[in-house]
Symmetry: C2
Subunit: 338 residues, 2 copies
């Protein structure tokens, strides 16, 4: 069997509680005792049994990360950032994908057995909306990511979506583009990434005095490459003319950019493109894609930090907080002229 506190205690000639105290840096331990214990731990290669610790202390040392889909580059990179931030603090991360956008399924994952062993949850909301905020008043500490729910019952970490897409749109306007496509809208959505990014787009047009044309707003349900390509194909087939594209995420932009080039148009000369998210791939597309860096590492850092605070604090003692990251325009070839 494996080594327990008893084995270490016996070898060091102390009680198991003293060993436990050494491990937890309890202050009142004589230096020589501490050394004996540490030596015994090293000699036996003792590892605490996490199940036992979890049972006794009520903490598992793991946090859950609920995201839509790992195959989506944005979320894979977010998961990477969260794992880095969590490991720094000695936490494990249990990743859970929710797949499609089904409210019921999403709630089940949130409450389901797999999220039952974690001390807290980072939840990147997809299907739920503002009207469901009440459902999130669960007993497990929770920090929300994404842009579907604001002013919910708990902390919320996100990026300034409106500012980001305003920045993106202003960038294209500054290049002299006037007929700019907004790619990725969700009809009637007000909050949510799509709604907010559309707002940034319209705000930028307004500020520049460029008329808003409804036909330049392209609705796209999902935000994968495929959807961007399909939407662009349909848009071009309908004969709408445009000289710039603000895509609401990078995948949409990459899919659409491909279709535009296939049709013989040049990027950026005929159509300038800018995306959102700064996924790795944007550095290697043809042309490389300008985009908005949403501060993923910052999201992860703040979210994990806040979650940890909530885990340690008395339930209800921390009022809901909101954090918006600092964003940055990344200019690449898709908006750069030789």
């Amino acid at each position: 069997m494996s080594i327990t506190l008893h084995d270490v205690a016996r070898l060091a000639g102390v009680s198991i509680k003293t060993v436990s105290n050494v491990i937890h840096d309890y202050p009142h331990i004589r230096p020589d005792t501490r050394e004996k214990v540490l030596a015994a731990i090293a000699e036996l290669d003792y590892r605490p049994n996490l199940s036992a610790r979890g049972l006794r202390s009520g903490r598992s040392g793991a946090i859950g990360l609920i995201i839509p889909d790992l195959r989506n580059a944005y979320f894979a990179e977010l998961a990477d950032a969260v794992m880095t931030a969590a490991h720094k603090r000695g936490l494990y991360v249990l990743i859970e994908q929710m797949g499609g956008a089904d409210k019921q399924a999403e709630l089940e994952i949130l409450r389901g057995p797999r999220m039952q062993m974690v001390d807290g949850i980072l939840y990147s909301v997809l299907a739920l909306g503002q009207e469901d905020a009440g459902l999130l008043d669960i007993s497990t500490p929770l920090v929300l990511l994404g842009d579907r729910i604001y002013n919910g019952p708990t902390d919320h970490v996100t990026m300034p979506n409106v500012d980001g897409s305003r920045l993106a749109t202003e960038h294209l306007l500054s290049l002299g583009r006037q007929r700019i496509l907004a790619l990725g809208a969700h009809e009637d959505e007000v909050i949510g990434s799509a709604g907010l990014r559309l707002r940034g787009y319209t705000e930028a047009l307004e500020a520049a005095g460029v008329p808003f044309r409804p036909e330049l707003v392209v609705n796209v349900g999902n935000w994968h490459r495929f959807d961007g390509a399909e939407a662009m194909r349909a848009t071009m087939a309908s004969g709408i003319s445009f000289d710039g594209v603000v895509a609401f995420n990078d995948s949409l932009a990459l899919g659409a950019m491909r279709v535009v080039q296939e049709a013989g148009l040049r990027v950026p000369d005929d159509v300038a493109f800018i995306g959102f998210d700064d996924i790795d791939e944007t550095r290697y597309s043809l042309p490389t894609l300008s985009t908005i860096d949403p501060g993923r590492a910052e999201i992860a850092e703040v979210a994990v930090g806040w979650l940890l605070e909530r885990i340690s604090a008395e339930p209800g003692s921390i009022a809901p907080r909101e954090h918006e990251t600092a964003i940055r325009l990344v200019q690449r070839e898709s908006t750069t002229f030789a």
Copy 2:
């Protein structure tokens, strides 16, 4: 506090062991007792405490997946497949990234604290090589993925790399290409994905009677888009001429394809491309990329199944097994003529 077996037992008017028996489908329970218990469980919304269960039974219900990097699309998709396969069997997956290719770091992760709470490990070997196989004789059940270690001390699930790249090379040869670049070789590597895929390439040339030219073998250390682009830039600068590229993974191919097109060459007319892995992105590149589908879902299914067998079995009672998936050539635009 949360609901325990005691609460359920009290409500149902039975002992806690009977509740436990109902949960575990112990056969000798009267239907009406079972119903009472199930009703109590439902009413109280009882969830077993996994730490307690883990402590008592010695099983945590989690398996570890050690991969190089989630940001790498191949591994993100592999992780997705593994999670799907694991959830089907009621298991959690704890993902761990090892980052760079440092042997010591890799062994530390394998033995480290984070892999201590899992019942078994799926390990996609990166830095270790055949000579380190002995180091893997650890007590935790282990199944190896990837191509660095064959005939190790435990099960191994992989894809037929030689067949795959032979198939890829034959495909280009069948299009009449004679000067085919092998992109992604690792000098002096014999086993390992790079060594095996190079072998498939040479075998295909030999079988077709096409002379092997060393200058067409391009060494590339890492297999990211960036590296493919850089290597292709260097190759073109050196003046070597070629009409086809067998890239040892899709990312390399996508990076290289971009550089080739940047230089004004057409794909596939001037240079035909084929990759390896069938990552999602190959469906949306310009042009879409032909590739080898390595059977990721099959890898995940077999690996998780075998790992579970090892977890349940007596240590040492299962002899090491090897599994190779069925692969498939996926032809897309990068090797298709209008």
